[in-house]
Amino acid sequence: MVFYGWLFQLKNLTLSGLFVFTSLIEPLIIATLAFYMFKAGGRPGTLFYAALGAGVLGIWSSTLFGSGGAIAWQRWQGTLELLVAAPPPLILIVVPLTIATSTIGIYSLTATLVWGRVLFHIPFHLVHPWLFALALPTAVIGLGLLGLLIASSFVLYRAANALSNMLEFPIALITGLMIPLALLPDWLHPLSWILAPTWGVRAIRRAALGGDAWFAIGMCLALGIAYVAIAAKLIGVVERKARQDATLSLT
């Protein structure tokens, strides 16, 4: 069920112009800006670093946008009540939706790297190609499961899309997708550590640029498991509340 849910959502999202834009064009805009900023700042050596960050930002944008929409779109289409009333636990229905959105984000990473290679002549050389092949799906799953946690809390929130749009840049900032975490104030670091994108981008960067990626891969997976556990509790609570207050289908 999870596999077919994932496949269905993947096909569904690919047909959405807005979603494809978010997945492809927006990361390219951010990547272009980052390339010019690092070049103009006299730090062209960091372009591959920036390209990888912009690509993961694309995965994050897709995840966030899709997670915000996961519940809202079902609500608009009038299928949310049916899904809630169906025998499988709601979390098993939402997991493939959010993982599918982060999977679409792989397009972003690919597009960003190709964009950087073609227009900015950024060399694409992976220090640990096999580790990169492992780090990428791990990051996708980690980000998708963070999306699950977010989607779970959005059941009660009717303007979920607005909130998900708002969260895009804050998470990108504090998880160091585009900048080294050392630039951020110290008090923000613990918050970064509990967010999967921090470890996802670290795993991808270390696999690509060199360094130990295993710890970051492990952290990404461990956080993903924790997100599922929290989301399972949360979705039960908010689902019950929405049914009690009869607000499930309100738009």
Partner: protein, 249 residues
């Protein structure tokens, strides 16, 4: 009235995260990328991104106030009426401009406070004027966006693309002289470019009279876009009647 009816983002649940919180984080993200790149000061990013974010309400709201009529199937009734078109279309832009000013001013104030950017008190009134002119100019581009919205179904995609285009081309985060020559040249014909440059100079202590040419250039660019938008709206209106595509959504 049409603005209140069609601009669904006026709900505080949408307006606050989308129009007040999001621009502040755009400022912070690019200010930190700027620090990592050793490119410009925080002030550069605060001013650039705050004013550029006015384009979100200017582009989206203009598209919503025209294309929204089509979605609610009231566009035909409006265009069948004998109401003069200039006040009909341009009148809708006034609350949009006001909204853009509020968004940009709020982002500028909060971004400056968070990043400890000092803006001289004497620059506040001229900056307010520049923000009004820049928002009005961007609403001119928004009118073109709205006109295209008569033919293109995904107005949100289009608005997002234009927003990204302005972010890259208008010298918001990269100085114009660091962009390729072609991009800098295109930027001269876009709204926000001259407004942002004027605002940065004002914050650096220049007088309003010394940036007068930039403010006039911004106003002129905006007027040209608004005129193009008006002509495009009339053109698509005629085309829609001719090909019976007015209500196509």
């Amino acid at each position: 009235m049409s603005f209140r009816a069609l601009y669904g983002w006026l709900s505080p649940w949408i307006y606050i995260p989308g129009m007040m919180v999001a621009p502040v984080f755009q400022i912070l993200l690019f200010a930190y990328i700027g620090r990592a790149a050793h490119l410009e000061s925080d002030r550069f990013y605060v001013i650039g991104n705050a004013i550029q974010y006015a384009s979100i309400p200017c582009l989206f709201a203009m598209a919503n106030t025209i294309a929204g009529e089509r979605q609610q199937q009231t566009l035909g009734a409006i265009l069948a009426s004998p109401a003069p078109r200039l006040p009909l279309f341009l009148g809708r832009s006034l609350p949009v401009i006001a909204n853009g000013v509020v968004v940009a001013a709020f982002a500028l104030a909060v971004g400056s406070l968070i990043l400890d950017v000092h803006i001289p008190v004497s620059a506040i009134a001229p900056l307010a004027l520049v923000i009004v002119v820049a928002s009005a100019a961007c609403t001119g581009l928004g009118l073109v966006n709205a006109a295209i919205g008569l033919r293109v179904r995904e107005t949100a995609v289009l608005s997002n693309i234009i927003f990204g285009f302005l972010l890259v081309f208008c010298g918001v985060n990269v100085p114009l002289d660091a962009l390729p020559a072609g991009m800098s040249t295109i930027a001269q014909g876009l709204p926000l470019t001259h407004g942002i440059e004027a605002a940065r100079k004002l914050a650096d202590g220049h007088s309003l009279s010394s940036v007068g040419r930039l403010v006039l250039a911004e106003a002129l660019v905006g007027a040209l876009w608004a005129w193009a938008g008006y002509l495009l709206l009339r053109f698509f209106e005629v085309q829609s009647f001719r090909h019976a595509t007015l209500e196509r959504s």
